[in-house]
Subunit: 411 residues, 2 copies
C-alpha cells in the first residue's frame, strides 16, 4: 500500500503556517498578499512533487497528476478566518499534496491518479466557499459582481490586483472517481469519546431567521403593565417558547442558537419599542429542519395573533439543505480508519459547512475528520496532536488507494 511521509507532511504543514503566522495562529484571508504568496508556494510544492500545478482564474491551486484517470481530487481550502487557526483548511490541503506526492513517488504497485487542490475563500471573505462553488459552476454572476470584503474591496478589484481573470477551472470531464476532503472536527466529540478519526456521513443544513419586534416605546414608570407593548418582553417570551418547542422536536444532532439580541433604545427607564433577535438552527435531516422552520413561523404567527407587538421574520442567510455524502466512498474511509485506528473512529455528521458540500453536487464526495484539541477552532489556539494529524493522512491515503483500485469494502 501507499506510504505517506509523516515528517514531510508535518514540515509542509508548518511551512504553510508561516504565511500569516501570528503566535500559534494564522491570519491569511483570501486574496490578501500573504494568501497569494501561500498559493504560489503551494503551486511550487505541487510542481516539485511532479504534479502539473496551476492557479486558476479565481485563485484555486490545482495540481494534476500526470497519471491517467480515474482520479481522485483531494484537498481543502488554504485561506483562514480573520483570526484563524493553523489547521482549518490547511490540514486538508497538505494531506492532498502529500497523498498525491506519495502516489507519484511510489515504486511498488500500479500508478494511481490523485490530483491535489487548495480552494480559495472557503471562509467567505468575499463569499462562503467561493473557490469550490466556482469550480462546480455554483456561483451566480450577480453574486460575483456585488461581492465585497469587510473593508469594502470588491471581489473584482481583488482578482484584478492578484492578476487573476475571475474564470475558474472546471472538473475535467470523465476524469474523477470522486472528491475527498479531510478537516479538523471543530468540535469536541472525537476527543471526548477517545476517537482519532471521524468518517463524515453528511453535512448538516441550516436556517437563519432574523426576527423583528415592533412595540411602543414608553415610560417605564408611568405605563401600567396591561397597557404596554413591550418589544423586549415579546422577544423573551418568543425565545423561551422556541427553546421549549425545539427541545421537544430536536434530534441528537439538532443545534439552535440565538446569537444576536438587541433591544432599543436600551435604557433602564424606557420600555423598549423595538427588538431583534437572530435564530439559527442546524440539522442533518432535511425533514426535521423543515419542521423546525415551520414551527418557528407558526410561533411567530401565534405571537402576532395577540396583537400586542408586531413580529416579523426574515431569512437572513440563504437556507442550506443537508448534504448526504457518498456512501461508497465513506465505506472506503471507514475501512481505512479501522485499519489505521482500530476501533478509535466513528461515523458522524459535520455540523459545519465545507467545500465538500458543493463538490458533492458534481461528483461523489466524502470527508474525514481528525480531533480538535478542546474542540477549539476559528481561534489562534486551534490545534490537533501530531499523532492524530499523521494518522488521519494515513487513513485518507489508504482509502484513496482502495477507491482507485476499485476494491470492495465490507460496508
Amino acid at each position: 500500500v501507499v506510504t505517506i511521509d509523516p515528517d514531510r507532511l508535518l514540515t509542509d504543514l508548518r511551512r504553510l503556517r508561516r504565511f500569516g503566522a501570528v503566535d500559534q495562529g494564522v491570519v491569511r484571508q483570501s486574496l490578501t498578499p500573504i494568501d497569494l504568496e501561500a498559493r504560489d508556494w503551494l503551486r511550487r510544492r505541487m510542481a516539485d512533487a511532479g504534479l502539473d500545478a496551476t492557479i486558476d482564474g479565481v485563485g484555486n491551486v490545482i495540481g494534476r497528476s500526470p497519471t491517467d484517470g480515474p482520479a481522485l481530487l483531494i484537498g481543502s481550502h488554504a485561506d483562514t478566518q480573520p483570526t484563524g487557526g493553523w489547521l482549518d483548511g490547511a490540514l486538508g490541503v497538505i494531506y492532498g499534496l502529500e497523498i498525491a506526492r506519495a502516489f507519484i513517488q511510489r515504486t511498488d504497485g500500479p500508478p494511481l491518479a490523485v490530483d491535489a487542490v487548495a480552494w480559495v475563500d472557503e471562509e467567505g471573505t468575499f463569499g462562503s466557499c467561493l473557490g469550490s462553488r466556482s469550480y462546480c459552476g455554483l456561483t451566480t454572476s450577480d453574486e460575483l459582481a456585488t461581492a465585497k470584503n469587510a473593508d469594502g474591496v470588491t471581489l473584482t478589484e481583488a482578482w484584478r490586483a492578484a492578476g487573476l481573470d475571475g474564470v475558474a477551472a472546471r472538473p475535467e470531464p470523465g476524469r474523477y472517481r470522486g472528491y475527498l476532503e479531510a478537516h479538523i472536527e471543530q468540535g469536541a466529540s472525537l476527543e471526548r469519546d477517545g476517537n482519532q478519526i471521524g468518517v463524515v456521513t453528511e453535512i448538516v443544513g441550516s436556517r437563519n431567521i432574523a426576527i423583528g419586534f415592533l412595540g411602543q416605546q414608553n415610560h417605564a414608570g408611568t405605563t401600567p403593565m396591561h397597557l404596554r407593548r413591550d418589544a423586549a418582553t415579546a422577544l423573551v417570551e418568543l425565545a423561551h417558547t422556541i427553546n421549549l418547542e425545539f427541545r421537544r422536536l430536536a434530534g441528537s444532532a439538532t443545534v439552535w442558537t440565538i446569537g444576536r439580541m438587541t433591544v432599543a433604545p436600551g435604557a433602564a427607564s424606557i420600555i423598549p419599542g423595538t427588538a431583534e433577535m437572530h435564530l439559527q438552527f442546524r440539522d442533518p435531516d432535511l425533514g426535521r429542519l423543515e419542521t423546525l422552520e415551520a414551527v418557528t413561523l407558526q410561533l411567530i404567527d401565534d405571537a402576532n395573533a395577540d396583537g400586542v407587538v408586531d413580529v416579523t421574520a426574515t431569512p437572513s442567510i440563504a437556507p442550506v439543505n443537508p448534504t448526504k455524502l457518498d456512501e461508497e466512498l465513506a465505506s472506503h474511509l471507514a475501512a481505512a480508519a479501522e485499519q489505521v485506528a482500530g476501533s478509535r473512529w466513528v461515523a458522524m455528521p459535520s455540523a459545519a459547512v465545507h467545500d465538500a458540500m458543493f463538490l458533492a453536487e458534481v461528483m461523489p464526495a466524502a470527508m474525514l475528520f481528525v480531533p480538535s484539541i478542546g474542540g477549539i477552532s476559528h481561534d489562534f489556539a486551534e490545534n490537533t496532536r501530531d499523532e492524530d494529524i499523521v494518522l488521519g493522512c494515513e487513513a485518507l491515503a489508504a482509502a484513496a488507494e482502495s477507491i482507485l483500485r476499485g476494491e470492495p469494502t465490507a460496508g
Copy 2:
C-alpha cells in the same frame, strides 16, 4: 377665595417654552446657557410679581413672599430632558409663580404667604433631583465632586461657568406649612378614565438591578446542546421566570421593565459567551418592593445553582423607597379638586420620581397631577389641554388657600 388669571398663566407657560423651544418640545438641560437664561427670566417674573427673588448657588430660583409665614412653597423644576416636552416641570413652576402672584395681588381676604420655586436639574443631567435634594440637605459631597453630564463636563465646572458657588439655599426655619407640587401625569390613566385632576397619595419606590451572565463562547454548529454554556439562553430563561414570578406577585401598581439586553459577541454562528440585562421594578408598597427584590435574587441564585452559566446581580442605581405624601395636605387637594372638577378627579400614586419625594423629608409635601394627552412625556409631543392646565392651577390655588387658612377638610 383667591383667583388665578388663566391668560396670564398660559402666557407665562408659553414664554418659558421659548427658552429652548424645538417644534412643540423643549431642549433645556440643566445649567446650559438657555437654561440659565430661562432661570434669569423666571427670577425677573417673580420679582415683577412682588416676590423677593433670587437664584441660589446651585441654580434653584426662589421667590419669597413678603408676607410672614406660615407659608407654602409651591413649584417644580425648570430643566428638561435632552429632548423634552414643554410641560414636564415647567407647568408646576408657572403654577407656583401664578399662585404666589395671585396671593400678593388679591385685595380681599387676609394676606397669605406663598413662595415660588423652580428647582434645578430634576432630570438628572448631573444628578437626579439635584436642586431639590441640595435644598433639603440630601446630597453628598462625594456625589457633587464626581458628578458629570453626558459630555463629561463636571458639575463643578458647570456651576463655575454659570457664576454659581454650589451652595444651595436651605428652608427658612419655622416658615413652611408644607410644599405643593403640580406636574403632568406622564401616564394615560387620568385621560383614560375621564379625570381632570389626580391627587397623589404616594410616590413609588424602585429597584434597578444589572444582571450579568458569563458562559462560554463557542461555535454554533459544532457544539452540541448539552455541552453549551450559552449566556443568551440563560438570559432568556431568567427573564421569562422573572416575568412569571412578578406576574404572580404584582399589585395593581407594580411595574417592571427589562429595558436593556445585550449579548456578545452577537454573531449568527457564535454561541454568546456573555450577556447582560437590566431589570427595573417600581411599587408604591415597600414590602412588595422588598419581596420582588428578594425573589429576583433567589431566582439568580437558582440560575447559578445549575452551574451552566455564572449569573451576577449588581444594583445599578441606588434603591429608592416609596414616599408616602402628607395626608392632610392631600385632603385639602382632594377637597379643592372636588370643588373645581366635581367628580372628575382621583387619588392615585405617582409612578415617576419627583422633587416632592425629597421635600417630603423636610416638610409636609403633596402633589397634584393634570392629564397628559395620550400619556406621552419625555417627548416633543408631550401636551395637556389648556382647560386642564387652568383647572389644575385653580385647584392648587384653592388648596393653598384652605391649607394656609387652616380650614378643616372633610377628609
